[in-house]
Symmetry: C2
Subunit: 244 residues, 2 copies
DNA sequence: CGCGCCATTGAAAAACCTCAAGAGCTGTGG
DNA sequence: CCACAGCTCTTGAGGTTTTTCAATGGCGCG
């Protein structure tokens, strides 16, 4: 039941009942992966599109000094490697952060779908472009904002993205990552992130209980983080969009 | 005469003589822009694909504190906004850095081309995916590498990219940017970049004369910068690539 | 010639990292 | 059920990188 997947694609294009049915039937191969398991290695040329159904995964690169940079989170509903057959090989690694349930769709299936169903094509396109927009915003976030705003910005993004697939309430969500993993994302050391998180807590910007993040005043955090959700392209109404 | 454009697309797919002819004929509207001129504003939904023929342009975002982050360089041969009709609006700005000659191709023309010519479709796809790979590497570069390696890495990338379109020799190229523009790219202050450039010079890693960068020992600079050109996806041989 | 932008340098402050150590939590085996 | 190992979280102290503020000289262009 790829509910988050369908929920997410709906933002990219209005799906018909048939589209939804076809997409659900395309999900035949669902696998469970352990935390910290690499799904696709650098230099691979994988044969499947991966759709995350449960858990958190990420794209990352390892640097010669052993540090790693996480370049994208893949949360339920996200799919990756849509277009890899065009490139001879992948230039990064995709791996799970937590335990994950992942659907594998062979590229041939995707090609059949896009040949037959225009709104599915459009929705998959939209999904890649939204990912690209997110990547650009991450570049800005990681390279220009100080550590506290940077962290706050990531939390705002996760709130909105998880809300979009029904995995967050108005002001809270489960963030099943270690501080180390967050630090690998936010381009800082674990020690520094720890201090930043403490500061955000004493400032009342966030509350942590277990792995649940609660944001007492969402507007306040968004303002603090200079967060503008446009880049996620989740607001698009179907009728606003131009036809291909 | 969009030579760099054709040169670049050749890396993405083998083009037939007809492909080349069709592409050349598609370039009807060529315009000259001054330095620091915005081609596409945030929240626009532009009707043309822009192909840079001469000069340097960039994608950037402005931050509330007035700083800007350049997220990509667009050099001769690069094209942008291929897929914008899918998104209702653009989440960043595209502007020239130097004076630029730019070809404008209406989206309708692109759609006609991709409908009729599979290798053009493939080449344009490849171009977007290579851009994405570059963006990912920039995220790593700007957020993980120290200022000196970061700067060196950018120079290595420019050498390779400009070589690909016939605008660089074995070890040198013209970089018509100010230090301020480079600093906006490299996520540091102009003052700091200046010191870094001086250091790279005294270490003999680069030589500057006017706006010409010369790299006395390319391998040495690449090693220093931890530069691996894979992410540019310029090595792909046509026959290696899988069919769509 | 003079204005404005660019490059350059110095000094001090701020942000962030490294190293180090202790506390808390979790899962595992005896 | 307890002890222990391993990982995560937390905090301190000191060092490095980068920024900020400030000032100077160079260069092109009207």
């Amino acid at each position: 039941m790829p509910t988050p997947f369908l929920l997410k694609l709906e933002y990219g294009a209005g799906l018909t009942d048939q589209d939804r049915l076809v997409l659900e039937r395309a999900v035949r191969d669902v696998r469970q992966f352990k935390p910290r398991h690499d799904l696709i290695l650098e230099d691979d040329s994988p044969e499947n599109v991966h759709v995350i159904l449960e858990g958190f995964a990420c794209r990352y690169k390892l640097l010669p000094d052993g540090t790693r940079q996480i370049m994208a989170y893949l949360v339920p509903g996200d799919c990756c490697d849509l277009h890899v057959p065009i490139l001879s090989r992948i230039d990064h690694t995709i791996g799970t952060l937590t335990a994950c349930k992942v659907a594998l769709l062979p590229h041939t299936v995707i090609e059949d779908l896009t040949r037959q169903y225009p709104s599915i094509t459009r929705a998959l396109w939209w999904s890649t472009l939204a990912d690209q927009g997110t990547l650009r915003e991450w570049l800005v976030n990681m390279s220009r904002r100080p550590a506290d705003k940077r962290t706050a910005h990531l939390l705002c993004e996760l709130l909105v993205r998880l809300q979009a697939v029904g995995l967050a309430t108005d002001n809270s969500f489960v963030l099943p990552l270690t501080q180390r993993q967050l630090a690998d994302t936010l381009a800082m050391t674990g020690v520094h992130l720890n201090r930043i998180v403490r500061q955000l807590r004493v400032d009342g910007l966030i509350t942590l209980k277990g792995h649940t993040v609660t944001i007492p005043d969402v507007e306040r955090l968004k303002t603090f983080a200079e967060f503008n959700p446009n880049y996620l392209h989740l607001m698009q109404r179907r009728d606003e969009a131009r036809q291909i």
